[in-house]
């Protein structure tokens, strides 16, 4: 049943968002802390579990895949509802702040990425002797 998959997805999102909101209140932050991330982890865990197989295999899985395929159209709708006028009219300061922050962070991606790869290699070196992966 397609609805089983959709229901599982919905349940993961509700639980994750709730935990994120709760975490926000606990930390005194006016924002959801990692709700979507936790919902994703729940879905990953649920879809790997043998007990919930009926909710993710066959037609049920199609219910989840459908929403994954709707992701790009939803992002297009999201783009179409941005306050682009405000961004363009925020003046040169807003543009300068936004652009420089973005450019610097783009540039950092390969730097941190290399650190991550190096960490993995070092780890592999130390565990390699015991026939690690």
């Amino acid at each position: 049943m397609i609805i089983y998959g959709v229901a599982l997805l919905a349940a993961c999102m509700v639980v994750g968002t709730f935990v994120g909101d709760y975490l926000g209140v606990l930390l005194g932050v006016k924002a959801n802390v990692g709700g979507v991330g936790m919902a994703m982890l729940l879905l990953v865990t649920a879809s790997a579990s043998t007990r919930l197989r009926g909710l993710v295999e066959g037609a049920s899985g199609e219910g989840i895949k459908f929403w994954g395929a709707m992701y790009i159209p939803i992002v297009v709708a999201m783009a179409a509802r941005q306050n682009v006028v405000a961004a363009a009219h925020g003046g040169i300061l807003a543009v300068a702040a936004g652009v420089s922050a973005t450019v610097v962070c783009f540039a950092l991606v390969p730097v941190l990425s290399r650190l991550s790869a190096k960490g993995q290699r070092d780890h592999a070196d130390t565990t390699g002797q015991q026939g690690g992966r």
Partner: protein
């Protein structure tokens, strides 16, 4: 005409599905015919969306782009936070835990680095533009983190509405640039595997920017980038009015 308008208004979300579908179809056509597939169809669709949002914003004077046109109000629901997050979560289906673990601590570092670096760069720009007041510098800098962190931080430390507007504008510029710029720089920054996508998500952090940028680059990377980006705004809202504000205050009193 009045009947048509009533029909469209009464079926907002359904109209949005049809309209977005047409926009995506045109975009993929343009991608294939004009760029021989070099520019991804979804990248063109996102740009068309942004252009329409700009035109609609000028036309209606509203803040929600196309969604402020009554017959297209459904686009606001379809592209709103609820459907966006639902679709993002669904992309995690089929993700391997192993890929997430491989990035490990670098993923966590990237979130902290992303918030702090964006804040520092934003602060430097504010200072370069002549701001010397700790509240103003912090609010603008927090806007460079994301357009949610900016106003949350500004409101917490008592910034005026003009500063809040400025900080939101900075955040929206960042989000749009991440959406449009990611497919252009993807090759140069090695954004072609799950590990780098997680680090990218943590560094850029703006959920809409990362969602749009990865969709236009390689949809398979979406869950990995979204996973780290989801913690970014929370961390920014946590650090903005506290440690980051105190640091600016220590320097500028």
């Amino acid at each position: 005409m009045a009947i048509l308008e009533a029909t469209l208004k009464a079926n907002g979300l359904i109209v949005a599905f049809a309209v977005v579908g047409i926009a995506v179809w045109i975009s993929y056509l343009l991608s294939a015919r004009l760029t021989a597939g070099r520019v991804h169809g979804s990248a063109i669709a996102i740009i068309i969306g942004l252009v329409l949002a700009y035109v609609a914003g000028r036309f209606t004077g509203g803040e929600n782009g196309v969604a402020d046109i009554p017959v297209l109000a459904g686009v606001g629901l379809m592209g709103g936070g609820m459907f966006r997050d639902f679709a993002i979560v669904s992309t995690a289906f089929g993700v391997h835990i192993g890929e997430l673990k491989k990035t490990g601590i670098a993923g966590v570092i990237s979130i902290f680095a992303g918030v702090i670096v964006a804040f520092v760069v934003g602060a430097l720009v504010a200072i370069a533009f002549g701001y010397r007041d700790a509240v103003a510098i912090t609010t603008i800098a927090a806007g460079a983190v994301t357009y949610i962190v900016g106003p949350v931080t500004g409101a917490a430390i008592g910034a005026g509405s003009d500063l809040l507007a400025l900080s939101i504008a900075a955040g929206v510029v960042k989000s749009i640039l991440v959406m449009v710029g990611t497919p252009l720089v993807a090759k140069a920054i090695g954004l072609d595997n799950p590990q780098t996508a997680m680090i990218y998500g943590g560094l850029m952090g703006t959920t809409s920017g990362v969602a749009g940028g990865l969709a236009a680059t390689d949809p398979r990377l979406v869950p990995y980038g979204a996973m780290t980006a989801t913690f970014y705004t929370g961390l920014g809202c946590l650090m903005g009015p506290s440690v980051l504000y105190f640091a600016v205050k220590a320097l500028f009193g």
